[in-house]
Amino acid sequence: MNALAEAFRLIITLDADLFEILWLSIRVSLIALAISAVISLPLGTWLAITKFPGRKFCILVLNALMGMPPVVVGLLVYLLLSRSGPLGWMGLLYTPSAMIIAQAVLITPIIAALSNQVIENLHQEYRDTFYSMGVTGRRAVVAYLVDARYALTTCILAGFGRAIAEVGAVIIVGGNIDHLTRVMTTAIALETSKGNLTLALSLGTVLLVLSLLINALVIGVREYAAKRQYA
C-alpha cells in the first residue's frame, strides 16, 4: 500500500518536523507513564493485599475507570488548568505538562486495576508466608512488586499503549498546537480531517513502529533479566 511506502519514506528521511512530533509523543507518554506507575503500581498492590471495608468497592471503581472516556478526562483536566480553574495560575494549559497530566490520569486506573489482578494472584501464593513472617505494609508492597515484576511489565505496556495512542484527552488540554503540543496522534487526526488519509495512515505506521521498538526494548530487557536470573 501507498501508506506503507510513505511510512517507510517518512522514517528514513525523518525530517525535523516529524522528529519533533515523534519526540514529543514519546516524552509525554513516557513521563505520564512514569508518574502513573509510581502511583498505580503501589496502589493496585496495596488494594490486592490489604483488607479493609470498601476495598472491593475501590477495586470496582478502578475497573470501571478503565472505561473513562479520554474526552472526559481531557475536559476535567481542562477545567482544572483553565485560567478560571483552580490551577489556572500555573499556566499549564496548552503545554506538554497538561498533556502529561491528562495521560497520567487516564492510565493510572488501568495500570492499577491490571496490576491489582496480577498481584492478587501472587498474593494467593504468598499470603500465608508473608503473614507468618510478619511482612506487611510497605515492605509487602515492595516485595510483591519485585517478585511480580515480569508479569507487571505487561500491565505497564498496556498503560503505555493507551497513553501513546491517546488522542481525545491530549487534543483538549494540549490543543494540538503546531510546534508546541502537536503529537503523533493529534497530527494523525489532523491529516484525517484534511482528507490526507495516506499521510495519516503512514504517520500511524510510524507510531506503531515506534511502539513496537519500545515494546521490544522493554520485553527484551525483561527476557534478558529473567534468563540471567534463572540461568
Binding site: 504468598y126 500465608d128 508466608t129 503473614y131 507468618s132 510478619g134 511482612v135 517478585d147 534463572y230
Partner: protein, 236 residues
C-alpha cells in the same frame, strides 16, 4: 527461660467448611515446654489446627490464648514451616535476608551460618524455586529458625528429606527447643515422633482423641483409634 507463650490454651475450637465440621470442638492445653508432636490421619485437622494457632484462620468459634497473649499479639514471636513451603522468587540467601531484614543488615554472616546449618551454604545464590524438594524444605526451616521464635510450628517439615537430613533437622529442632522455644510439630513419621516428642496430641475427625506423654502414647495408647493408627489400620 521457658517460652513466654506457654501455656497454650485452646477451648472449644470449631471450624465448619461447607457442611463439614473440620474442627469439631478442639479442647487442648499445652503447658509444658519441649516438643509436642501432633499426629493423626490425613484430613484429621492437624494443619487447620496449626493454622488457627498461627492466626492464619479465624475459627468459627472458640478461644485460643498463648501465655497472656491472643493469637494476634503473639504472632511476632511465632514462626511456622508449612507443609508445602513457599519460597520467594529470589535466591536462597535473599530468601533468608528478606525474612529477617534487621539481621541481614546488622549480622549478614548469620544468614550464611544459617545456610550452613542446613547444608545449603554452596547454594546461597541459587534461585530458591529451582531447588530440589528437600532443599526447599531445609531452606524454609532455616528461615523459620533465624527469627528465634518463642513458638515454632512445623507441619510435616521433614516429609521429603533424606534420612541424614531428617536427623540433621531433628537435632536443630532439639537445640532450638532446648534454648526455650516451644515446638509443635505435625508428623506422620512414627520414628521421628518417638525420637522427638515430649508429649503427643492425637487428633482424629477434627477432635482431640488423646493427649499423653510420649513414652506412654507409643507403648500404651489409651484410645483404640490411636492404637489402630499406630498399627497403620485407620482409614477414614
Amino acid at each position: 527461660m521457658p517460652s513466654p507463650l506457654l501455656p497454650i490454651r485452646i477451648s472449644d475450637l470449631r471450624l465448619v467448611k461447607g457442611d463439614r465440621a473440620v474442627l469439631a470442638g478442639i479442647n487442648l492445653t499445652i503447658g509444658e515446654p519441649g516438643i509436642t508432636v501432633i499426629m493423626g490421619p490425613n484430613g484429621a485437622g492437624k494443619t487447620l489446627l496449626l493454622r488457627c494457632l498461627h492466626g492464619l484462620i479465624k475459627p468459627d468459634q472458640g478461644q485460643i490464648t498463648l501465655g497472656q497473649l491472643s493469637v494476634t499479639d503473639s504472632r511476632d514471636q511465632q514462626a511456622m514451616v508449612f507443609q508445602h513451603p513457599v519460597l520467594l522468587r529470589r535466591t536462597a540467601l535473599q530468601n533468608l535476608a528478606f525474612a529477617v531484614p534487621e539481621i541481614a543488615r546488622s549480622e549478614p554472616q548469620r544468614l550464611l551460618r544459617a545456610l550452613e546449618s542446613v547444608h545449603l551454604a554452596d547454594r546461597a545464590d541459587q534461585p530458591a524455586r529451582m531447588m530440589s524438594g528437600g532443599e526447599q524444605q531445609r531452606l524454609a526451616l532455616a528461615r523459620a529458625l533465624l527469627s528465634k521464635p518463642a513458638l515454632l510450628l512445623l507441619d510435616e517439615a521433614t516429609a521429603s528429606l533424606d534420612p541424614a537430613s531428617v536427623l540433621l533437622i531433628e537435632s536443630l529442632v532439639k537445640t532450638q527447643s532446648a534454648q526455650g522455644t516451644k515446638v509443635i510439630l505435625v508428623s506422620h513419621d512414627q520414628g521421628q515422633a518417638r525420637r522427638l516428642a515430649d508429649d503427643v496430641v492425637f487428633i482424629s475427625g477434627g477432635q482431640v482423641a488423646e493427649q499423653s506423654p510420649a513414652n506412654q502414647f507409643f507403648t500404651a495408647p489409651e484410645t483404640p483409634v490411636a492404637k489402630a493408627y499406630l498399627a497403620g489400620e485407620i482409614l477414614l
